[in-house]
């Protein structure tokens, strides 16, 4: 359904993506692992054109887009097929939880207000925030904010949801509630690309795990293949380090 070919991106003198290919089927949960600076976030942002890649193309559904040359109209088209969940939530500070969810429906998709409202209520209930509709982001905890962020993303019924380290800004206590919502989505067959450091989450729900380093995909396969039985030395090194961290975590 989504096929990325040979994507390149450089910031100044640093080449962040050095030709990455990625294939996502409907219902896939693709988890991208890798050390910081490996280009995983840039890859995700390039898919949504939040970053303009220098080279490469993408087939999305039955349409082909060039990363470099996509027109404004094409970019808007891609953005309407995708949704993004940010590391820092990025909820609209001037809008309530409910308005955060309806915004994309009413303004982005021209859905009548009343219908959008009903849908937003339904989705916020689903992520466990039925008592927080008219709270502003600054009145919500990090975990609640991120669940609103996810609600805002699923409301627009995207074909793919892109998660950029959705739990890495959260207190350890609050990570669980966000992951639970994501697991629920995975169970329902939502197509997701997730950049994360949550190995356990990857093992439980990923249909495909990708390990990236220095702008390239080093290893790709099922969770079992990549996490339990990695072939490449670089992957083993990385996994050893983050699982060690977990043991020492107090």
């Amino acid at each position: 359904m989504l096929e990325i070919k040979n994507i390149h991106k450089r910031f100044g003198n640093t080449e962040v993506l050095k030709g990455v290919d990625l294939n996502v089927e409907k219902g896939d949960v693709v988890v991208i692992l890798g050390p910081s600076g490996s280009g995983k976030t840039t890859l995700l942002r390039s898919i949504n054109f939040l970053e303009r890649a220098d080279q490469g193309s993408m087939v999305f559904g039955d349409k082909k887009y060039s990363f470099q040359k996509a027109s404004k109209k094409e970019i808007l088209e891609v953005r309407k097929k995708t949704a993004f969940v940010f590391q820092n939530y990025n909820l609209f500070q001037n809008k309530t939880a409910l308005e955060n969810v309806t915004e994309g429906l009413v303004i982005g998709r021209n859905i009548p207000k009343k219908k959008a409202y009903e849908k937003a209520v339904e989705i916020l209930t689903k992520v466990g925030l039925s008592d927080r509709y008219d709270f502003y982001p600054s009145q919500l905890s990090g975990g609640q904010q991120q669940r609103v962020g996810i609600a805002r993303a699923i409301a627009v019924e995207p074909e793919v949801i892109l998660f950029d380290e959705p739990t890495s800004a959260l207190d350890p206590e609050l990570i669980g509630e966000v992951l639970q919502v994501m697991k629920q989505l995975a169970k329902e067959g939502t197509t997701m690309i997730v950049v994360t450091h949550e190995i356990t989450f990857a093992q439980e729900v990923a249909s495909k795990v990708i390990f990236m380093d220095e702008g390239r995909i080093i290893e790709c396969g099922t969770a079992d293949q990549v996490i339990k039985h990695p072939k490449e030395e670089r992957t083993k090194q990385f996994l050893r380090r983050i699982t060690n961290d977990m043991e020492y975590a107090i």
């Binding site: 953005r79 609209f92 600054s138 009145q139």
Partner: protein, 247 residues
């Protein structure tokens, strides 16, 4: 010959001056309008970071900021008629002083507003725009619906400050013969050969103090109203919740 200080004359003077507040406010409102429109264009130019246009905007802001208001006032008062007459064949002899005053203070206010607006927009996290784009809003929609409302709140205190500065600088307008409260005060002193000058200046001081306090109050209320997620609503909500629990 000097008359003795007359306390009650202060109130008489205030009553005489009051009607001329209309001119003061007229000048203020028109200058704010002109200055904000021009300032927004300048700010927008700077935000877009086109080298040539930004350079021009910076130059303009520098020139206006470095010019004492009274100098700018006379530059406009004497210079603009020349430009209009020679360049466009427009005779400004019958133009009222209000025209020149508003042009001057619009120019002054625009330089301040350009920075106020630019810094307020720059203060909004770029994630706000990205989040708006990611759910399918256009750049324009993201700006109007998400960025502008937040930037307005940030700009409000600075805007209020600039406005109060403008009010005080506006008192200079009498120097080109504009009759606002200040101009009327000067006229009253002149008509009485300098008698009761102190009382009239006290009256003027009281008027300007009152207007400033009034403006400050208005802007404080506006800040609370426009910042829905700030203290104001939280208090209101907790009050509502408390009441709910009581039942």
């Amino acid at each position: 010959m000097k008359r003795p200080f007359d306390f009650w004359y202060i109130f008489e003077a205030i009553l005489d001056l009051l009607p001329y507040l209309v001119s003061t406010f007229m000048m203020l409102i028109l200058s704010i309008l002109g200055g904000t429109i021009l300032g927004s264009i300048l700010a927008w130019t700077k935000i877009r970071r086109r080298p040539l246009a930004t350079g021009f905007a910076d130059f303009y802001i520098y020139i206006i900021r470095a010019c004492p208001p009274i100098v700018l006032l006379f530059l406009v008062f004497y210079g603009l008629p020349e430009i209009l007459l020679r360049g466009f064949g427009i005779d400004t002899n019958h133009f009222s002083q209000l025209f020149f005053v508003v042009i001057t203070f619009s120019l002054l206010f625009s330089a301040t507003m350009a920075e106020v607006i630019r810094s307020a927009v720059a203060a909004i996290d770029k994630g706000q725009r990205e989040a708006a784009l990611s759910i399918g809003l256009s750049d324009m929609q993201a700006f109007i619906r998400i960025i502008l409302p937040q930037a307005t709140i940030i700009a409000l205190p600075n805007f209020a400050n600039s406005l109060i500065v403008l009010l005080k600088e506006g008192a200079l307008a009498y120097t080109i013969g504009f009759i606002d409260v200040m101009g009327k005060g000067i006229l009253m002193i002149g008509n009485q050969y300098g008698a009761h000058a102190l009382e009239i200046y006290i009256a003027l001081g009281l008027l300007y103090w009152s207007i400033t306090i009034f403006l400050e109050q208005v802007f404080q209320k506006m800040e609370m109203k426009f910042a829905p997620d700030k203290v104001y609503r939280v208090e209101k909500r907790s009050e509502k919740e408390r009441r709910k629990h009581e039942f």
